[in-house]
Symmetry: C2
Subunit: 169 residues, 2 copies
DNA sequence: GATACTTGGTTCAAGTTTTAAACAGTAACT
DNA sequence: AGTTACTGTTTAAAACTTGAACCAAGTATC
């Protein structure tokens, strides 16, 4: 089959999207670096933990949730541990396992950094969108995520290390 | 002033957006890595060059266009030069200057990788959106970019190395 | 036309991140 | 018991990023 190139409208939308998403990610990173001393990825690991029951998660689950390799997560968590925002604990039910726990200091940092972070998101995004656009954005992004996840199923274990069924604490 | 948190709708949209954009960037990166041997950033530098008149750009302009520091661009272009996709040339009118030129090999690589790249973008995004959604996406992203650029003006030279007026070939 | 100031771009060294391939220990299955 | 699969870490190498220092060339000032 011959290549289906983007239509002019799609092309414009795509360029818009790339420009915005890179610029936005950059802005967020810079602000978090300044105010929390870490990149968006690291911050999101803390944030994910703060959402988890008891603020703790098994490493593999955390890796899957944040969509990074276990190896990479080991590195990230080590750094966070050095910062004192995360602590590791063994897993009672599975002696191989280890559990990342958000410390009080980690929670405090999150709380200290959250206002600035939200402010960035507001000032960059939501302050300039109508309520309709907000729900449009959600719908569009959900379609994209769906598509990508379906795609992942299909090409499962095709180079993605973290394909696995879930387990729990 | 007290913090204006995100409304539940905004919160949902934001999570959707982050999930989609990270997943998408990841997917694109992986595919380009496989088929072009480079990340999205590097690819986009080549792509930007291919759009430029005569397929050449001054380093500073290229840095500004791709929104990275000159230092970082020097590194990127060195790597691309090693790959043979870019060549450096001195600038006749300004002897300090250097110009990055997309080589034929670079153009060939771009042409070889483009179909797969477009296919990723299609399969991840546009095949699942209505024409209305495509234009909504564009509108939304344009608002975001506007906001971020306005914001940049305000905090100009506040840690951003690449603030500068344009120059040309 | 010498002095300073700015700009374009690179270099350098240090630090951070990412990757992939082992690995050790434990669990699970037969 | 013996394999097989899983968890998470280690390791070594590579890739990337940063910021400061730097040089050379342009620009302005007097």
């Amino acid at each position: 089959m011959t290549i289906r190139w983007l239509t002019p409208e799609e092309e414009r939308a795509w360029r818009s999207y790339i420009a915005a998403s890179w610029l936005l990610e950059d802005t967020i990173d810079r602000r978090l670096q300044r105010e929390a001393g870490m990149s968006h990825l690291y911050y999101s690991v803390l944030a994910r933990l703060s959402d988890a029951p008891d603020r703790r998660m098994r490493m593999t689950d955390l890796a899957e949730a944040t969509r990074i390799t276990r190896s990479r997560l080991t590195y990230v968590v080590s750094r966070l541990e050095k910062d004192g925002t995360v602590r590791r604990e063994g897993c009672p039910t599975d002696k191989r396992g280890s559990t990342a726990v958000l410390t009080d200091a980690g929670m405090a940092l999150l709380e200290r950094a959250a206002p600035g972070h939200v402010e960035t998101v507001r000032a960059s995004v939501f302050d300039h969108l109508t309520p309709e656009q907000v729900s449009q954005l959600e719908a569009i992004c959900d379609r994209i995520t769906e598509a990508l996840q379906a795609n992942e199923e299909r090409s499962a274990c095709d180079g993605l290390p973290w394909r696995r069924r879930s387990s729990s604490a």
